[in-house]
Structure formats: C-alpha cells, structure tokens
Symmetry: C2
Subunit: 444 residues, 2 copies
C-alpha cells in the first residue's frame, strides 16, 4: 500500500487520549481513589457500558436524552450509560435479593455524553462514584460518611486547602414553602441564588424582585442567603429565623446531625462548611447535598459532588431504596489540574530498572539478571536490541526510568552488576543480592 491509500490515524473529536507520561499520572490518581474507596469499605461494581435504552432512559428526558449515544443493533435498542447512578439504581433493583443492605458500592468507569466538544469537556469520561443504598430506609447518619470519604480521598490525592460545602435541600424547600413559593417559582429563585458568587447580592435582589412580587419575600430570601459564619453560627442563625415549617426544621436538624458525626469520622472543621446556596439540580436530590472546592482554584468548580436521594429506583421497583453518594469526574478534573500545573508527570513507564548488556555477548547474563529482578517483584526490563550503548541510556532517560543495571565483561567475570542511578549519576558495583536489596529499598 502506498501513502495515498492510507487512513489518517486519529480519534473522534471530544475524546481524551493520553501519552504514556500522562497515562501513568492518570492511573496513579485512579489507583489512589480506588484504594480510598476500599479503605472505607465500599464494594466494587462493574456494569455493562451499554444497556437497554428503555431501562437507561426510564427517567431521563430533555437535555440528557439529546446527549445519549443510542442506536439499534439487531432487535436491540441500545444506549451507552451517561452516568453511573442510573446503572446503580437498575443494579440494586435487579439484584436486590442477592445484595446485603446497606449496600456500599463504588464504581469507577467510563460514561458517555455526546456534548458539543469544548475545552475541558469530554464525550467519554471517568466517573468515580461511591454510594450507600438502603433497603426501605437509610438513616441520616450515613450522610456523615460522605464528607469523610471526600476528605480522606482528596487528602490522599495530595490536596490540602479544600472545602467540602454542605447543605440540605429540605432547608431550601421548607424555606421556600414557608414563603408560599410554588415549585416552579422556587426553581427560578434557586437559579438566581446559584449565581450569587458570580453576580453579587444587589444584582441577585434585583433579579429576585423581577419574579417575586412581595418585597418582604425578597428581603427574607436576601437575609437567608446572607447568613454567614462558622457552621455553629449558621445553624444558630437558621434556628433564629423562627421558620415554622416541618420540612425546614427537619432539614436543619439533619444538617446539624451530619456535621456532628462527620467530625467523629475525623473531618477537620476547616474542611467542612455549610453553604446555604448550593442545591445541585432540582429533581434529583432530596436531602443533604455536597460540593467540594479547591480554595485556591475556585474557577475549577466543584471537584466532588453528590447528595442524598430518596427515590432513585422508583422507575424499577415499589420498594423505596434511598441512598447517598458522591462522585469525582476524574477525566475533567485531570484535565483541569494539568492545565493549572497542579499535577506533573514523573515517569512514562512502571519500569524501575532497565538492564543494559554492554554487548551481545552479555545478553544472556542481562536476561537472567532481569528474570531475577522480576522474581523479586521489581518492575524491570532488559534492553534487548543490539544498538549503541548510548542509545540504550537515552531510552531509559526518556522514559524516566530511575536505575540502569549494566552488565559488561568485567561484571560477568566478577559476578556483579553496575547499578547506576540515572537521576544522580551515582554508580556502584553490586552483587546480585546487593543489587536486589538496593533496588527494592529504592522503589516507590
């Protein structure tokens, strides 16, 4: 075949594909998240990427449905999953008799949305979800584990200055209900409140006035969203509002309880803050909601969000299966952290050592030594091709491999290897046993 008949090798627009250095970095983040989810006793689940469209879209509609990858194959109307939450609700409804409750599951996998490609948005992306699902009921105390998981996971990822923002939808719902706002109007009010950070209080008041007739209602809303202070102060202020609405009062009580237990779970006070303005969409969460911000990089937005939902499986079963969960959208987060220079690749291979024979005559010794290293659990490879020695070192340096083990005629004679630290340039002769000891201690 000549060049004219070649297909240009390229991927679809809107997809992320990484080179080895970035892939190693990405996988490191994935591993850390997974280890932490398991540290908190969550069970791995893996569901098919494609499902029956009627099942996956039982609830969906509007914007989401337009983004779905959906197609026919034979008799099957197929859709690719667009999140991990709908597959979870299908999974627990389908397998309920075989699961133990509360069901603590995590799921790390790719999901698909045919969004318009734009900077930092991808059509295929990793979601890292943890959820706890109850059979019939789930006590509010489970909501207190989520800030602990977020805190533990983000700390393990190396973040320090971050805040888990917490709120309870019942507070908002009860408050709006006490003001006599109907659900559609409440939704509009929420949308305006949500812009507080961007447009400021005076502009918010103006927009509220445009849709709410009574000035005293606008004042009450403004007073509500102006509540500030540490968590205790905010809770006290909420009580002082004196709102006689059961839903509101339940919300305040739940929020208070969740904060108390989250502290017992080891979440430092400086990393957990009530934020009365967060609501996380409108028809999904029913109680506690979470968002998480890197305080030095507010433009990145929430990096871990979620909440409590009471009716997730209602499209599949009559048994109420309430749950609470949070999710990290890792593909987008990775992109943003890389752009902001907050994470940097280290190496482009898992190899810790490359074994270099100085000439083909030393190949057999080099291979045998590599086999011994691997046997000892040390990630390693032999440079097998017969090229100039300098090219072998270039290969190791380009991939960021930390050690070269060099075997030439002298080493063969003495039964040793020369271990060279490619970062410091330091080189030492070592017996096989010494080399293994040295390289084992220098791992990670």
């Amino acid at each position: 075949m000549n060049n004219k008949n070649k297909t240009i090798p390229s991927i679809l627009p809107g997809f992320m594909e990484l080179l080895p250095k970035d892939q190693m970095l990405f996988n490191g983040l994935l591993d850390t998240i997974r280890q932490n989810y398991e540290r908190f006793g969550f069970i791995p689940v893996d569901t098919p990427v494609m499902e029956k469209a009627e099942v996956l879209l039982a609830k969906a509609g509007g914007e989401t449905e337009k983004q779905i990858y959906r197609f026919l194959k034979g008799d099957n109307d197929i859709a690719l999953r667009f999140d991990l939450t709908v597959p979870l609700s299908r999974y627990v409804a389908e397998h309920k008799p075989d699961l133990k409750f509360p069901f603590r599951r995590y799921h790390i996998g790719k999901v698909y949305r045919g969004e318009k490609p734009q900077r930092g948005r991808f059509r295929e992306f990793y979601q890292c979800d943890v959820d706890i699902i109850g059979n019939g009921s789930l006590e509010i105390i489970y909501d207190a584990e989520m800030p602990a998981i977020i805190y533990g996971t983000l700390s393990a990822l190396g973040f320090k200055n971050f805040t888990v923002k917490i709120n309870n939808r019942k507070i908002l719902n009860g408050f709006f209900s006490s003001l006599g706002l109907e659900s559609e109007q409440a939704a509009n009010v929420l949308r305006i409140i949500d812009k507080l950070d961007k447009i400021g209080l005076p502009q918010v008041k103006e927009e509220l006035t445009a849709i709410v007739n009574k000035p005293e209602t606008v004042d009450l809303i403004s007073e509500f969203i102006a509540i500030k202070g540490d968590n205790k102060t905010i809770l006290d202020s909420l009580v002082k509002l004196g709102i006689k609405n059961d839903i509101f009062q339940t919300g305040v009580a739940e929020l208070s309880q969740v904060l108390t237990y989250a502290a017992d779970f080891g979440v430092p006070e400086e990393n957990l803050a009530i934020d009365l303005t967060i609501a996380r969409g409108l028809d999904y969460y029913t109680g506690t909601v979470y968002e998480t911000n890197l305080n030095d990089y507010p433009q990145i937005g929430s990096i871990c969000s979620g909440g409590r939902y009471d009716n997730l499986t209602e499209y599949y079963t009559d048994t109420p299966m309430p749950g609470v969960g949070v999710s990290i959208g890792l593909t987008r987060l990775f992109y943003q952290l890389r752009e902001a220079g907050l994470i940097k690749p280290v190496g482009a291979t898992p190899s810790q050592v490359v074994v270099i024979p100085l000439s083909p005559a030393n190949l057999k010794s080099a291979i045998t030594f590599t086999a011994t290293l691997r046997e000892a659990g040390i990630n390693s490879e032999t440079y097998l091709a017969d090229v100039k020695t300098s090219k072998k070192f270039d290969y190791a340096n380009d991939l960021g491999i930390r050690f070269a083990a060099i075997i030439g005629p002298d080493e063969e004679k003495q039964g040793t290897v020369a271990i060279k630290n490619l970062v410091t340039g330091e080189q030492n002769q070592a017996t096989v046993a010494e080399a293994i000891e040295l390289l084992k201690n220098k791992q990670n």
Copy 2:
C-alpha cells in the same frame, strides 16, 4: 408510580454482570494481571472505546465487520472497538513521534462484539494485552519475552500445570511452499491440520487426500504433523526433514532462538512446548505464534494467545512497525474457570473489619475507632444503623468480613475494643493500638 408503570430492571442479552463476590474475585485476577504486566516493564495505555469507523475498520472485513457495533451520531460514523490491537496500531501510528521504541505497552479494557449470544461468549469482554512494537524493525529476541510474561502471569494467578505452545508461521509457510501448495490450498490444509486433536491422524490423512492430489505430499504433511518429542527433538527432526526453503529455515532458526532465550528469561522447559500444528488464523501473524493450555482442562482451549506481526500499522503509515504480543480474554476465562470450579470467591467486600456499636450510646466511639483504623490503612466500616446486634453480625458474616470490632459500655469504660475473628470465633479485648497491630498483621 405503581407497579404497572415500572420498567423491568435487566441488562441486554450476552452481557456479563457480576454480583459482589464474583466481582471481587474478578478484580483480583485483573489486579494480578496488571501487576505482572508492570513487573515486566509494560506501559499502560487507555484508548477511547469508540473510534472513527473508517479508522477502526481500515483493515477489517467479513465476519468481524458484521459483529461491529457501528452507528451514526451527528456527523460521526462511530464504531466500538472490537479488540485492543487495532486501537494499538492506530495509537502508535498517530503518536509515533512522542513514543520511545521498542514501545512496550499493556492495555486492559473492554471490547465489543455483537456475536450471537451463547454459553461462555460475551458481547462485552475484557482483553488484557501486552505488545512490544518496534519502529522499523524488532529483533526476534523480543519474541522470547512473551512465554516469560505468560509464565509469570499465569503462575501469579495460581496456575501450575499449563503449557505455552509455540510455533513459527514461517515453518508452516515455508513447508507448504516447498510442497508447491498455493496459499488457498495451504489455508485448507491448515484448517484440516488444526483438527488433528479432535479427529485423529487417519481422518486428517483422509481429508488431506481429498484436497491434495499427490499421495507423497499427503505423506510428507502427515510426517510433518506427526513430529513429536521434547523441543530439542522436534527442532532436530525439522532440520532432518532437509527442506530446502529459505522461509522454512528462517522459521526453524527463529523458533530455536526464541526457545533458548525464553529459558534465560526463566521459563521452565516443562511449561513451553513446540506445537507444529498451531497457526492462529491466516492473514495476521507472520512469525512466532503462541497458545496456552491448562493441561488438566483442555476443553477450555487456549487461555493466552498471540504472536508476531510485521505489518500491523500498514493501513495508517508506510513505516513498518513490527510487533509481538499476547492477550488474555479475561471475561471468557473467568466464566470458564468459575464453571469448572477452579476459582472460588472469598469475600464480597474489601472491608477487613466491621465496627459494631452495641447500642446507639456507643456510636460515637465506634465511629471514632473506625476513623482510626482507616487512618492506619485498614479497610473498615462502622455498622451505623440502629438494628439488633445479631443483624449486624449477620451482615458481616454474609459479606465474608473477617473481623468484628465490638464496642459496648465495658469497652468504653476501659478504653478497649473487643476484636472477634468471625472465622474462628476467637474474641480478645485489645487497646486501640493493640487492635490496629492485630488487624494490620492479619490483612491480606
């Protein structure tokens, strides 16, 4: 919503979805494979599940094409990957300037084939691939690493009595060519030879006679496939055939070299055997080919296969990029091992410990202790819901959690926890520090 409007929660036919116990087992196998691929210095790569159809199908045709999941979305003609080899060839052709060669990559991911659903066949399945790709050329010695990777990985998975069967396509091609068989006829001969194990030599001879005119050719083929013995004996027999064909002789020389170096890489002789009848398809591999069988379970077929290919990227670039690789189809293998009772689930959760408060009064202590365990890296959870104590133990036993840490009023008074081994029933009082020590040592 009442029952009549419910969607039945179920997945598409031909897909595998696991319950927690099996998922834990499956993930354990995946982890072992990954660790071993990294031990051999392979670099992780992750490519999009969907690609441009024209790119993915540049080579494909016939049976494969019919099985492809392909659809339009907006302007895009999209196909789901049906293996990890085509995406690899696209990846190296696309990113060649940014990669170091020989490029050692592994890829563990799901691929999609719309096959007719049948026992043990799945439409979504994990492939676990390792390949080494050269830029322009790749020395034959790299072929010797594959038996070592297979041996190391399968040993780590717990297999003992298995054989990596090895052959070289050049031996077959050269042999057929020396007999004057043309490619189509050679293909038919191969298909008959391939049935040797099933139908026996007399039947093979009969079928060969039906398509090959000369009885002496049938005799030569029969003599060839009857070659048996240890590797050295087979190589000697091949030389003794005295076939004057360059391709044949190159094949024999390559096979001999690969066997020598594989031994240096630490592959025991009893796990690596020449099998002159394996060919692995017809238009793909060009040199060494591998299959791997569990000797006690021949009906499972090859569990790790692959080979050398010289022209994989030819549809994308003029630079020859030869490679060698092997693959484990883990979904199918898992299914077969489970069916054969060769692997058994242990636990249904990563949790090592469940912390049980005897009453709500002990909840705070239980939570704080759990936080301490997690801080120490011990996978653990608190049983938070207020139910009968026996129900909490049932939960732990059902999930296969090995330890319960019980905190009641006595423990609170003494500042201890009761650590109960749920397997042996043994129970001991321990201080927090002692408990951590005990549980850390008992992990894994």
